[in-house]
Symmetry: C2
């Protein structure tokens, strides 16, 4: 489900972004080029570039400036996925082998570093100090989110606040910054920049909660990895936190460990699904979406706003 297939007026601009992405990660090291292209071409939704391009339309749109911002955000996202897979010890991502499983952890680490560095090179085309500051802040928060995720693995006593802060840092801020930086790159009004930031933040929160729900409800074929992978790896997500409000279910969930048998895990997934946790988590995701829509309503009415609204709706309805 690439967004570029759905919003045809963005197609030609997204193609320019793709060209930037491919040019950016071409290295004279063949392992590196292959490892980088591997992930970049394995079917990401390019949601961050889409947000950059759409937010940019609220200012003085110039694709030859904006494409660098769009590519930067996708590269940073890609790099963070590479490092994420090292930490999660994941063998599958988007249905194909991860870099760390195809090569090794060391290659994965430096491939991530390399993609990060290429992102910065790309961003250095943009002559706007505030944009650099926002990007750097976002990357700091991203790292803090990653570290927290390691620290809080299998911590069944973490409170909800910890979860929301973690998904804010890991996901929502990068989407919020995509919107904000798109608007900054084209000199959109400051109030519009801030509104787009908040829109991106709420959409990002909703998106990550849906992702955490789908890890339980989607099939292995849809996810490209086994259902319940998050919990099996010790990542305590919103459906789990909700399910654990039931003390008996909490005791069962606390038995989860990484070497658990597939059947035992299957029973726990069923119990979480039967607990009403999925429905409640969906309602919380929807509340974030509502807030996103309210931000949109205050923006000038144009084609970009309409498309942002459609994307937000799709996030609410998506099945995988």
């Amino acid at each position: 489900m690439k967004y570029k297939l759905k919003y045809s007026f963005l197609n030609s601009d997204l193609q320019l972004v793709e060209k930037e992405l491919e040019a950016a990660i071409h290295a004279d090291s063949s392992v590196l080029t292959e490892a980088s292209l591997h992930l970049l071409q394995s079917g990401g939704k390019r949601i961050r570039p889409v947000f950059v391009l759409l937010a940019a339309r609220f200012g003085d749109y110039d694709i030859h400036v904006v494409k660098h911002v769009a590519a930067t955000l996708e590269l940073i996202h890609t790099a963070s996925l590479v490092h994420d897979d090292v930490v999660d010890d994941a063998d599958l991502r988007r249905g194909s082998a991860t870099i760390k499983s195809k090569w090794d952890n060391r290659v994965a680490m430096y491939t991530g570093d390399y993609i990060f560095a290429r992102a910065l090179e790309m961003m250095s085309e943009i002559n706007n100090p505030r944009a650099h500051q926002i990007l750097a802040n976002t990357m700091v928060e991203l790292c803090l989110g990653e570290i927290e995720q390691i620290k809080d693995k299998f911590n069944f006593e973490q409170n909800w606040r910890i979860y929301f802060r973690r998904i804010k840092r890991k996901t929502a801020l990068l989407i919020a910054s995509s919107c904000q930086l798109g608007a900054i790159a084209t000199g959109a009004d400051e109030r519009i920049q801030r509104r787009l930031f908040r829109f991106g933040y709420y959409v990002g929160m909703s998106y990550q909660i849906m992702d955490d729900i789908l890890d339980f409800t989607a099939s292995e074929a849809e996810l490209g990895k086994p259902a319940g992978s998050d919990l099996l790896q010790g990542n305590i997500t919103l459906p789990v936190l909700i399910a654990m409000k039931n003390p008996a279910l909490k005791e069962i969930i606390k038995t989860v460990h990484e070497e658990m048998l597939k059947e035992d895990m299957g029973a726990i997934i069923q119990a979480i699904k039967a607990s009403g946790a999925i429905e409640q988590a969906t309602r919380i995701s929807d509340q974030y979406l509502e807030k996103a829509f309210r931000e949109l309503e205050e923006l000038p009415s144009n084609k970009a706003r309409k498309t942002l609204s459609q994307i937000a709706q799709n996030i609410g309805k998506r099945k995988f």
Copy 2:
């Protein structure tokens, strides 16, 4: 051997840089702060900040601008060391336990990422697009150097060109950029910027060759890790390349592997030292130093130039 003790007129400015460094890596995650401070305070020579400060004196010196550049370069260097230790599987660095041995590889990876991100945040204080471009390029080259080092481990057939390109990427360019960025930050004349870049490049090449020599000639106490560690890890450095010109010695060197016994390794180190390789590598290091001095001669004569010259001389004479 901190440079700040030797060049007293830099002391107060270097203290400001230290303050920036400590402020930069303070996080609300205690593991992260501890892990980052751990390396930063374990006795680095701060050679990159010193080069930044000295190069900056060829322009319109303002420590409150320059300190950000100096801290950025040290943070990038520190981050690359953290990731380096993951790749080298090193347990000791500067005589104390590495992050990856004190915590684990995942923490080391994200600590490196976090320090990188903090470096960018620091650099975003500098409003100069060319400076950002140079820094990003340098980071790309640094990553390429790291990847090459992995790829060429235990490759006893690599030619000298590969070695020189690797140390250029891994070490020399960051020192060259330190000099260049110091000069750019204070608006020094462009010819001076380029000359300082070349000075840093030659000094960096000489420095790394000396480092590679000292890995054979210094004691475990001086190095803070066993002598011959580079070779034992498969890093083929200049003394080894020179020693391998002797076919009989090459056959012996090719028997090196990571699980080798300390006694067997000791015999190979002795053979390399007896081959004249150390003396020849030292001559090559000295040739780079000569080139560095020639660049200095063309710079305006001032206290900074004199200090750069002293530092270069110390690199030639250093014993560990």
